[in-house]
Symmetry: C2
Subunit: 340 residues, 2 copies
């Protein structure tokens, strides 16, 4: 590699002291003593000579790396990818870069990632925590490592988070189906202890209760992530072959909905005539299904930006405490049209 341009090189080029160049390029207090014109000349020379500050040496001095560790469930899921993109943009706007990893909804993998990122001396974490990772969040908190949870949180673990109001989101989705005349509404969710998914079930149940519909537990199905495709298919078959079959189906995630819709399409079930559908989160597949799918839209931009903002606040001042349960929007389309 070519020898790196040093502060001394810039100083010689401009004809000033190395100390002065250092003051200007490190944006230190004393810069105020340097005239604006001189500061501009030094900056211009640094640019022309292609000066690259050594971030590692700088980090050791400041104790900061200007790096955020991001742990998502799976970067190849459109939900995670969209959030990651927004966090990346917002972090960059604030002079931070993002190191990311996918936990695969696995607590062991999540713990590995946290350790790798701690070794990289990230200034803080944004984490969509996986099941059974409570102790990891507590560990970060106990060690005063800045952390903000996104999308999910644990009611038993006091931590800063940015999420949506999952109960309300599900309640509104199911109430919409009920208002449009559906009475036997099934729900397919994950088999998980994750609080945000349990809240979606709670919202479903509250809507059924508030509408005085039959509270039939057999209409709620739980699929395991490890065997998703097969279990979703089987559960749809079961819900459709009940003595009183379902007339509507609410999916608790985009991945569940996409798997379910593939099966419903293969079965040639007319949507919404034979079965109304509401999904959760976005996917292009909702638009291209022969009947466009109604879905719960999360405020992705606000989620991602708020999480970065909150984390940077915590990095500055570790006494900052904040939680957000943002509102969602129900995007109503043909798949949940009035029952005929």
């Amino acid at each position: 590699m070519k020898r790196k341009v040093s502060l001394k090189d810039i100083a010689q080029h401009v004809g000033v002291s190395t100390a002065l160049v250092s003051y200007v390029l490190n944006n230190q207090e004393k810069e105020k003593r340097v005239g604006e014109e001189m500061a501009a000349r030094i900056r211009k020379a640094a640019g022309e000579l292609n000066y690259q500050p050594n971030q590692i040496a700088k980090s050791l001095k400041s104790g900061k790396t200007y790096t955020i560790g991001l742990i998502v469930a799976d970067i190849s899921n459109p939900y995670s990818a969209n959030i990651a993109r927004i966090i990346e943009d917002e972090a960059k706007r604030n002079g931070y870069t993002v190191i990311f990893g996918s936990s695969d909804e696995n607590a062991d993998k999540s713990w590995d990632l946290i350790n790798v990122l701690l070794n990289r001396q990230v200034d803080g974490f944004i984490i969509a925590p996986s099941e059974d990772s409570e102790s990891q969040i507590l560990y970060l908190k106990e060690n005063n490592i800045p952390v903000v949870l996104i999308d999910r949180y644990f009611p038993s673990v006091p931590a800063n988070y940015v999420a949506i109001d999952n109960c309300k989101a599900a309640y509104e989705a199911v109430m919409h189906l009920i208002r449009n005349g559906y009475r036997r509404i099934g729900m397919i969710t994950y088999k998980t202890k994750l609080f945000h998914l349990q809240e979606r079930v709670k919202g479903y149940q509250k809507a059924i209760e508030d509408s005085n519909l039959l509270d039939d537990q057999s209409l709620i199905k739980e699929a395991r992530e490890s065997n998703l495709k097969e279990e979703v298919q089987q559960q749809i078959d079961e819900l459709l072959s009940l003595s009183e079959p379902i007339d509507a189906l609410f999916f608790a995630s985009n991945k569940l909905a996409v798997n379910g819709l593939k099966h419903i399409k293969n079965l040639k079930i007319m949507v919404p005539e034979k079965l109304a559908i509401v999904g959760f989160d976005e996917t292009e597949a909702y638009d291209l299904y022969h009947c466009p799918i109604t879905y719960v839209k999360q405020p992705m931009l606000e989620l991602g930006r708020s999480a970065v903002k909150l984390l940077l606040d915590v990095i500055k001042d570790d006494s900052v405490k904040d939680i957000s349960n943002l509102d969602t929007e129900l995007i109503i389309r043909e798949s949940s049209g009035n029952k005929k």
Copy 2:
């Protein structure tokens, strides 16, 4: 934050010298002089005391950060997200973490990202280069910074890359349509100088030529990324209203195909009866379209893994030179069925 556990703490705990602990935990040559049992005891103590090596101090010493900089076009596009996931997994398997950024197909943004990542002292880059970023790749090469291009490359810039054989992939897709009886085949691609997309047009043209079909340039349309939705719609309208309208349409990317299919769905055009379709790259939307879409499938796992492997080889030995043009697979489904 709690005081970090030091090598001295571990040494006191085990009852040996700090130097010995350092030898063992830094995997240095002299470890061979330490008995295996003692090395195991030291490692166990480090684990129990939760010792975290300071990666920054280690980096200054070794000159390595064990970090890869990844620049994709847009992490929220399923193609980029899938590749990123595979690169992340493969990097982790090799003890590397990934810092990523999206260039948005914008050369200025790409240059900003390269500089941010250079400041973070990444050991090397994997880049899906954007249009007009040749000089950036040359800059990295001239400065002996390890770089591997993925998905795209510039014929004028000698660089290591892992990509697919785009010309062959498009040729096979169009030949398949011709074999199934289609004669007026349109193509929608991006308005771009990017070589890999020009190769897809070349493959299309070669198939038309080899089959002695009419080489009609008006069947090839170019949409601008900045106004994609509107231009794709308009171009489909034009192709369908020619005096001899198209009977098949080949899309050069998943994003083009998804936009096009939305319009074709709104126009209620029967696929493949009125219009056969072949897409490029994967998206769940291909599965959920009322008629499953035939598409060119890239060997994502091989692309991502090969890129990481090649980069690590280059980091070890900067004289390593390698290029790969991998084969694709045409996934044939109903949207390109025999013409009736």
